[in-house]
Symmetry: C2
Subunit: 337 residues, 2 copies
Amino acid sequence: MKKKLSIVDIANSLNISKTTVSFILNGRAQEKRISDELVKRVLQYVKEVGYKPNSLAKSLRTGKSNIIGLLVQDISNHFFATIARRIEDLAYQSGYKIIYSSTDNDTQKTQELIAMFRDRHVDGYIITPPDNIEEDISDLIKDGFPVVLFDRYLPKVATDYVVVDNLFSTFNATQYLIDKGHKNIAFITYSSIQTQMIERLEGYEKAIRQSKLKPHIIEVDFHATDQEILKLILDFFESHKDVDAILFANNHLGKCGLKATRKAGKNVPGDIALIAFDDYELFELYTPAVTAIAQPIDEIADNVIKLLMERLNATTPEEKNQHITLATELIERDSSR
Amino acid sequence: MKKKLSIVDIANSLNISKTTVSFILNGRAQEKRISDELVKRVLQYVKEVGYKPNSLAKSLRTGKSNIIGLLVQDISNHFFATIARRIEDLAYQSGYKIIYSSTDNDTQKTQELIAMFRDRHVDGYIITPPDNIEEDISDLIKDGFPVVLFDRYLPKVATDYVVVDNLFSTFNATQYLIDKGHKNIAFITYSSIQTQMIERLEGYEKAIRQSKLKPHIIEVDFHATDQEILKLILDFFESHKDVDAILFANNHLGKCGLKATRKAGKNVPGDIALIAFDDYELFELYTPAVTAIAQPIDEIADNVIKLLMERLNATTPEEKNQHITLATELIERDSSR
DNA sequence: ATTATCTACTAAACCTGTTTAGCATTACCA
DNA sequence: TGGTAATGCTAAACAGGTTTAGTAGATAAT
């Protein structure tokens, strides 16, 4: 095991001060009037022996880490995993590393994770905020950390965010079902105060209201197991035999919905039409293929990173916040034809 | 913004030395003969003002970080995402945080990531190794870092690992198809020198050989796109009309296989029976439901963490390595009936 | 000749903890 | 009473970088 070299070793080997080495390695040679000849000699030697500065020491002194903290609701969920993956790649290209973790929508866990990230001197934050986290996020911002939210935002917190046009998406999907002649359209969602969920509900309600139809809303507890969700939906089928279409507020509910319709022996779309929010391969390959509201995953990731990089590279803290709302796409498939 | 407290602030406020504070906070009060009265006073005050030691400074001095580096092939793949999620939870319970990243099976990227992890003073490593990474992993081990591999292992590197019984799994699945009367069973895999892939191929070949059947093996390049894989399979269907069963070497190939059989208009399992390695919800919900070799995801994660924790807590470096091989389960569904 | 300016560096402080070595007191013992 | 041991705590070194403040010597300006 070759012992790791330190900047002092480099300085000693070249008989110069570690200050000089530090200046050169940080590109401040010109500014500090280090001769070109010495710069070349140091760079050459450093390359030769493969010296890499200890980033802990660096972070300790500078307060910067070149690390971005990414907090998603659940990394094992396809939507978040894919976005996380792309964010990771993009950040990497800009010289940043990512630390990520799942919040589980658990406020306390999120608080602990934020504390850990702060402690680790993370440079910026990308977060899908759980409930009641406003204060912690505000503190981050107050303390000058760049924060970008996505998927949802916090109305009471002024910060950058990237979301999709949830209200229009469900309005449009519901209208689509109405246009197909469906009269009893149900909406299955989580009971949540998060913006994306509220907006999706509003979009549904707006379309239903406009057409003077009767709303059917099932709210599922966020911590309900798949079994419980399944049972809830099956019970709903029992008590609402007239429902002829369902809109699911996210991919997980959609998946449970598929299980439920199958178990109930419903013919899709003959007996009942289905539309899910957030497309993924299951909906594409399922028989019959499921109509879905596809979120622009790559675009979301691209914009999140773009906003964060702008803030990280800004010399003065930008005062006004940027809010990006992206369009979704209704992908029509067999389940709603 | 309240400025972050340092151990010096604590010491000054209490008019004692920061050494004393450090000893107390690290539970070395008894050993260092600090009076119980003072211990109580310090602990009380620290709690009161909410002081948390700066972990960067701590890591810099001690060389320990309470962070585990997790390198999986692709975090957006369901199998890895789920394992990563569970590993994260388990590590968290033991007081460790996880930094994870995707290797993409790219050797150079993996080397860079390992360098970054080392640099960040990560305490231990969990890795699904790509090709040609033997030397880097050996270096880690030589330098005393706990390393646990999973999903595959490196025959030339002596370390702990957790894998499944790949050979038996595919042997068993192939035999299952043979018992059903299939005569022309194909195996679709990646051209890979990784142990898990080699073993899966061997299991298939062994069963085919025992029954004196003719092997049909398609090897797909790891970097092939879904489109290319699809085309390859469709071409294979064209040129091998007699094939009546396919075993896929992993979930992604299985997914492409579903698309292919659908596109080719094949009746499953009438025309052709399918079995996929590595179960997930798509296979469960697809019509017809796909028979799959289910890996014990939770058990894999549990054992990986168990092995790593044993090494992390060991006072002396354990000489002999532990190799854990877990059983898979063949989940019979419609696609092979 | 003296002062100012510039060049090319560097010593020492700093970031925030941990760890080593050691220093007063008091207690104990012969 | 003098020597040893135990008690209770601390100063300073250390981890490995960055940054501030400054220095020695050469050149230019007054």
